[in-house]
């Protein structure tokens, strides 16, 4: 037996020390670390050559015999954390400070209680700013969408970016759900109630046992487990209001009419044309439809009510323990008629079947229904952009002109207005979009103990999620969809995800006094299938017919073509063999190593097995003899870790050569779909981490510093064929991307008495740099209305476009040879945006593009401070990001002056013949003036008070009621930012290229909640 051999050798090496017996006496005293009061009657044990035991007296004093070297002193006392210390030769007296088990220490392990941020409705939200290295960006104010999470930077260009989530020991695959609404992320993990979570552990440099899925980091989530046989019942109820986002200042009707007139004149119309076609500009009073003053943002946004209830019951006996919870969340959105509700149940049971056979069950079932609006890039249909660009002169309701020239507002929704803008109120009231998910996650874990060293476990798990999305967009009041000849659209999107997971593992542990060895090895299999069934139909009979089937089909004339049906099945097979060894010598020197071999249906034929590994060494300097006099230092652990991890989110079929269907006339043909690559494999990240954990003054102050360097090679990249190959290209591996940074976490118990004051902070500075690309050429990626560049020496996906340098005040400032805009061949003139000409060739085109900054933050984190006095406690939590750029698409709409859309008030400063000294171009609104440029790239750095929580525990207790807590809480109450959009925090999708693009999803805003927690 290999491990025993090693152990024997180690034991043999220390044998000389063991033979030298010595007996000494240790005296000491035991205190509470916070109150510094002596603790009486504490059990004290010394494990040396022989075991001795004693108890402290009523004043905490004790005397105990110690034999041999490396004797281990152990103390235990109810309500306090266990204490252990190796005793050095010659030590005669020791003061011991026990730490109350209620005291939390911030480290990579986060514990959730109800204490902090009760109103985090998703676990991602609750993690914001709390872990150094973890950058959490909420996708929108719909918490069901979850958040974008980047651990130690963006480590890929085209592969998956998100960390692996392991729920109660089962790795969860994130299916790529398709959505009926652009940019709406159907979040597989939206069923988790934060209150069901007991512990979250963030493995920033992954763990090799999750080999090919660990490169983006691993987040271990453990749900509430029963601990004792006693019955506990907790009930929480809370409710609150989310405020409307602060408005973007827009034209009032007079400003709008001035602008419209100016634009029409600049576009070449004379007074006669305007009078004939746009007479309302001259005489609004004469045209009731144009004679309103509507604040469209108020039509779309409103205060939103949310409520949340949660009941948890824990109990059981020596044989069987359980924790059952049910929860309900109803969250209205600030966009009217959008909301989300969640029913969730969770059952965790621990069953002692035989003396040495244990079973753990984790079962969760939830129903999440979200009522959506058509958020997304389509400006005429997204209620937010539709409201922003809708001229204020229109009314949401029809106006009836009376005989006397006055007008009466009817209680009927107005249709698309004469200028062709949607009625945002119709979008709010008449579009009908639902996303429902029925999600079950369950696992059974059987563990059999052979003896005190060996055990073996088997786990089977099922993850099943049925997602159904229904969409209906009516005709009245809503412009036609982009690229579609017909109005009205109905879509059904039914997706079934099922993941089967099995794991078989053998554990070994040998917790010797001096040597502590734990090891495990195992193998697991995963088989996931995502089935998509989608039907789309257009031009239904009327706005009340929301089903598919009766629209857009006329077989007789074979007239209309839009009906679409798509059903497909996508599948991943995965297996992983892993091993892990941890060894500690005297709790002073630590070595751990783990590795895995991984096979996966995504890899090319030449790479069926991948090997990953990690090794970490640690040294707790504070445990050394020479540090014994430095009693202020509890811990000073130096760590170095090297790991080689993979990212297998490279697409399920990208390595395959295959054909796909394509119709020719009415018959289905086959065409080449993918050029296979037998060499396609995972991306691998080599992660180096050097860190220091320091704990001072009896854990009053803890500090963790990490320096890391993560170098990802074999990036998933697209190889483009030359034109005479005919095909686009194929996926391959190549290039290198490096993330390096520093992380800092600090936690201090500043005042620790009846009045308590704690404070802490996290800080992460990360630098991403592309080190190489296969042919050295930069990769240009297109996003809606913009481009990004990934170039060697720079951060990935930097914004890439023209650099605006003000406005040509007069024709004399134009280049003498004239200047042409390549995209439409138009010539620049006075009042146009002046762009930097990189290539001085008289043409503004892609040769003039420059990098406009990175959407990734230079540094980010959070800081907090907690106060507690008697039953009161107050927590303040701030989060910040610095140096991240964003593409403000809404401002592009509001300052483009492209058409008769309403514009932001900033446009009042536009160039006019009498106002030439300005940065805002003229009302002409030529496409050259709203090209993707630095005009629309903004600094989205922010500092915000994310959460304020004030609670009070009523000093009342009886046989039934154990505790009553009342609390009020505020989120996002204060945000300092220069960003001009609604909110600087948004995420359009998880892909690397969607960072920092603000396509007007429902914005985050302030909210206030109140509630109570009852303990029975």
């Amino acid at each position: 037996m290999k491990l025993k051999e090693i152990l024997t050798i180690l034991l043999f090496m220390t044998a000389g020390v063991l033979s030298a017996q010595q007996v000494s006496t240790l005296k000491g005293r035991v205190f509470d670390a916070q109150t510094l009061k002596a603790l009486p009657d504490v059990n004290i044990r010394v494990e040396g050559e022989s075991r001795t035991m004693t108890s402290a007296d009523s004043l905490g004093n004790f005397t105990i015999k110690v034999t041999g070297e490396h004797a281990l002193l152990n103390l235990s006392y109810p309500g306090y954390k266990p204490y252990g210390k190796y005793l050095y030769k010659g030590l005669e007296y020791l003061d011991i400070y026990l730490i109350n088990s209620q005291v939390e220490v911030v480290s990579e392990t986060l514990k959730y209680g109800m204490k902090n941020s009760s109103t985090a409705f998703s676990y991602e939200e609750a993690l914001k700013g709390k872990v150094a290295g973890l950058d959490v960006t909420q996708r929108s104010s719909l918490s069901a969408e979850g958040a974008m999470m980047l651990i130690r930077g963006l480590k890929t260009l085209k592969a998956g970016t998100q960390p692996l989530i392991v729920l109660d020991g089962m790795p969860i695959d994130m299916p790529d759900f398709k959505s009926v609404v652009d940019g709406y992320v159907e979040n597989h993990l939206n069923f988790l109630d934060v209150k069901d979570i007991e512990k979250v552990t963030v493995l920033k440099n992954g763990s090799a046992i999750y080999g090919s899925q660990a490169a983006n980091g691993v987040i271990l989530i453990e749900t509430q487990r029963p601990r004792e046989a006693k019955t506990y019942i907790n009930f929480t109820a809370l409710g609150g209001v989310t405020m409307k986002p602060k408005q973007i200042p827009l034209f009032n009707p007079d400003e709008y009419v001035n602008f419209a007139k100016e634009q029409l004149v600049l576009s070449g119309l004379n007074a006669g044309d305007i009078a004939a076609n746009y007479d309302w500009i001259n005489d609004r009073a004469g045209y009731p439809v144009f004679n309103n003053n509507t604040d469209w943002q108020s039509v779309v946004f409103n205060e939103a009510i949310s409520q949340n209830y949660h009941l948890n019951v824990k109990g059981g006996d020596a044989m069987a323990k359980y924790s059952i919870s049910i929860g309900y969340l109803d969250q209205q959105n600030v966009v009217n008629n959008a909301s989300s509700s969640r029913y969730n149940t969770h059952l965790n049971g621990d069953l002692q079947i035989l003396e040495n056979l244990k079973m753990k069950a984790n079962l969760g079932y939830s129903v999440v229904s979200t009522s959506l609006k058509p958020f997304g890039i389509n400006k005429g249909i997204n209620p937010i952009t539709a409201a922003l660009i809708k001229p204020p002169v229109f009314s949401p309701y029809q106006m009836k002109e009376n005989d006397d020239g006055s007008a009466t507002q009817l209680n009927l929704l107005e249709d698309v207005d004469p200028l062709g803008f949607s009625n945002p109120l119709s979008i709010i009231e008449k579009t009908d979009i639902m996303a429902n998910s029925n999600h079950f996650v369950g696992s059974l874990d059987l563990e059999y103990e052979f003896n005190k060293n060996f055990s073996s476990g088997i786990m089977v798990g099922l993850d099943y999620n049925k997602v159904r999305q229904d969409l209906f967009i009516p005709s009245a009041g809503i412009v036609k969809l982009d690229g579609v000849e017909f109005d009205r659209k109905a879509q059904r999107n039914v997706q079934n995800f099922s993941g089967f997971y099995t794991d078989f593992r053998v554990n070994y542990n040998n917790l010797n006094r001096i040597h502590k060895l734990t090891a495990f090895a195992g193998i697991n299999f995963k088989n996931t299938t995502l089935i998509l069934n989608r039907g789309t139909d257009y031009a239904m009979p009327n706005d009340y017919f929301k089903g598919l089937g009766s629209g857009s089909w006329d077989a007789a004339s074979s007239a209309i073509y839009m009906k679409q049906i798509l059903t497909g099945k996508d599948n991943l097979k995965y297996m992983n063999g892993y091993a892990d060894v941890n060894y500690a010598y005297l709790d002073k020197y630590f070595v751990s190593a783990n590795l895995s071999l991984n096979g996966n249906s995504r890899y090319g034929a030449n790479h069926k097995v991948a090997f990953f590994n990690a090794i970490e060494v640690g040294w707790d300097m504070a445990a050394e003899e020479f540090m014994q006099s430095a009693t202020a230092i509890d811990k000073m652990k130096w760590r170095i870790k090297s790991s080689m991890l993979g990212n297998d989110a490279i697409g399920n079929t990208n390595s395959l050569s295959y054909y796909k269907g394509q119709m020719y006339r009415d018959v289905a043909g086959l065409v080449r779909g993918g050029i296979g690559n037998k060499d396609l494999k995972w991306e691998s990240t080599h992660h180096l981490d050097a860190g220091l954990d320091v704990s001072l003054l009896r854990e009053r102050l803890t500090l963790t510093i990490d320096f890391y360097l993560a170098r990802t090679k074999d990036l998933l990249l697209w190889h483009t064929y030359p034109a005479d190959i005919g095909y686009d290209g194929y996926w391959k591996n190549g290039g290198e991307l490096q993330n390096s940074g520093i992380e800092l976490s600090l936690y201090a118990r500043l005042v620790d008495s009846d009045f308590k004051w704690n404070a802490g902070a996290t800080f992460t500075a990360n630098k991403a740099e592309l080190k190489s690309l296969p042919d050295g050429n930069p990769i240009i990626s297109s996003i809606y209305k913009g481009q990004l560049i990934s170039k060697v020496g720079q951060s990935p996906f930097e914004f890439y476009g023209l650099e605006a340098q003000g406005v040509y005040a007069s024709a004399s400032e134009l280049p003498s040879g004239g200047l042409v805009y390549k995209n439409d061949g138009s010539a620049f003139r006075e009042g146009d945006v002046k762009y930097r000409q990189v290539a001085e060739d008289g043409v503004i085109d892609e040769h003039d593009y420059v990098s406009l900054g990175s959407p990734l933050p230079k540094f980010f984190g959070g800081f907090f401070t907690d106060f507690a006095y008697k039953g009161f406690s107050l927590n303040l939590y701030f989060t910040y990001k610095y140096g991240n750029k964003a593409f403000n698409f809404t401002r592009m709409l509001l300052e483009s002056q492209a058409d008769l859309s309403n514009q932001s008030r900033a446009v009042n400063a536009r160039w006019r013949e009498d106002n030439t000294a300005t940065d805002m171009p003229s009302a002409l609104g030529a496409p050259r003036n709203y090209a993707f440029s630095s005009r629309f790239i903004e600094d989205a750095s922010f500092l915000r008070l994310s959460n304020v929580h004030l609670s009070y525990r009523i000093p009342y207790k009886n046989n039934i009621i154990q505790s009553i807590d009342l609390f009020v809480e505020g989120n996002n109450l204060l945000t300092l930012t220069k960003y001009l959009g609604y909110d600087p925090e948004f995420s359009y999708g998880s892909q690397g290229y969607f960072q920092g693009v603000d396509y007007a999803k429902s914005p985050l805003s302030k909210s206030v909640f109140a509630g109570f927690k009852l303990g029975l």
């Binding site: 097979k573 063999g577 096979g599 079929t653 395959l656 006339r665 050029i675 061949g825």
Partner: protein, 486 residues
Amino acid sequence: MNYTNKIKTVLLSLLLIGFASCNMDVDNNLIVKEEDSFKNENDVNALMLGAYAQMQELAPQLVLLNEVRADYLELTPAGSADLDLLALRQNNASKENAYVSVKPFYKIIQTCNNIIANVPKVGASDPAFTKEVENHYLAEATGLRSWTYFQLAKLYGSVNYYESYVSSSQDQITGETLTLEQLVPKLIAIETAHLNNFSAGFIRNYSAAWRRVRVSEHSTLAFLGELHMFNAAIKQGNAVEDYEKTLTYLGALMSLDSTTTSRQTFKVGNLYGGDKWSDIYKNMVVNADEAIFAVDYSKTYKQQHPLQDLFNTNPLLLFNSEYANIWEASDKRAAISVDFSSRQVRKFAMQKQALDDDAPIIFYRAADIHLLYAEALNSLGRTDKALDIINKGNAYVEYTPTGEKIYNAQSLGVRGRQNLPEIAIVASEAEIPEIVAELIRKERMRELAFEGKYWQDKIRYALLKGGNSFKNGEEIVSKDKWFLPQ
């Protein structure tokens, strides 16, 4: 063996046990894996139809590239605003120009090469896939490839000729550069060899209605006729054999169904009245059969081409009214080619309603081959017969080299079916062949305007004359400007 390797071995054997119980094959039902194709005739046919689906992308590009430089068209302001289109029009397009990509051509060539390479193995898994069926598909795929190479060479001057294909990143392509002059004889040899391999037996989707949108013995005859006319041009007219071959191949096509009165396969019948030109694209009259080789579009299946947009909806190219007199006053083809008030080209939009299928794009049709036939006759000195073809068709006249009678029930020539007066030439005997040749050129321009033949004809006539340039309006286009960059 070191320690890591031992662990690897242990884990690897565990993995292998795992592999035995769980295979790593991708289970995805929206794709057909490479190894699951070429099992039977249906698979081959599906891939062949896929090639035609890819033709739907190429066809409008062919029309555009062959017409955008034509003198009878001019760019609209919107067209000039498109700097790539402008460069193309001004004959100084660069390789990066958005319009000149050769990718759609090579995509079809790859598809054909894939079929040609794999068809021989189908028989092993499908007994019904006989040698005859195999030869048919080889002829069809080879024919489509040859035709595509020929189009490439006419536009770009040379091709990267290869017969291999890529299906995975490991596959390499090595080809040879062939100029138009080198390619034409090669293609003649290849196509002649395949001409008799088209099957009379059952081939899926190869009914009469389908044949006009697939490479068939008909399209191959027309293609060989055109190839020989180009070959003759390359030989600067000293090519009796090529002209005779043209007569053989096109004559065979024109003689089809010559003994029946009910069918008028590839005769220039009086098929349309008034505005009904678009019918020849739609093939609504079953026995009309003007189109020999075309690409269809189906709105029902979201297959539409951009030519209507290009010429009509947001026109980038308009007819140059200085050329209005190329048609005689009574020539109905004028009104069906151009709307003279708006100067819009009508051929791809005539009578088209918003919900109609887009007009097919036709590469070979009856009038085209009749005019080539007449040209070949004229080049062989049979000027009278050539004039007959133009004027009144070829009823009951022994015109084919074999002396076979070609029957045309309506006795209509290319001009005849327009009710245009017959052309009689009064000139000295020596001048007549050149006058008739010029007449045929004009007739091709009038007949085939905007169908993607104009620029190629200019190149062919210039080659025939041994010249190094041709006139395009006021401009003299030298040989280095004939072809697009690639």
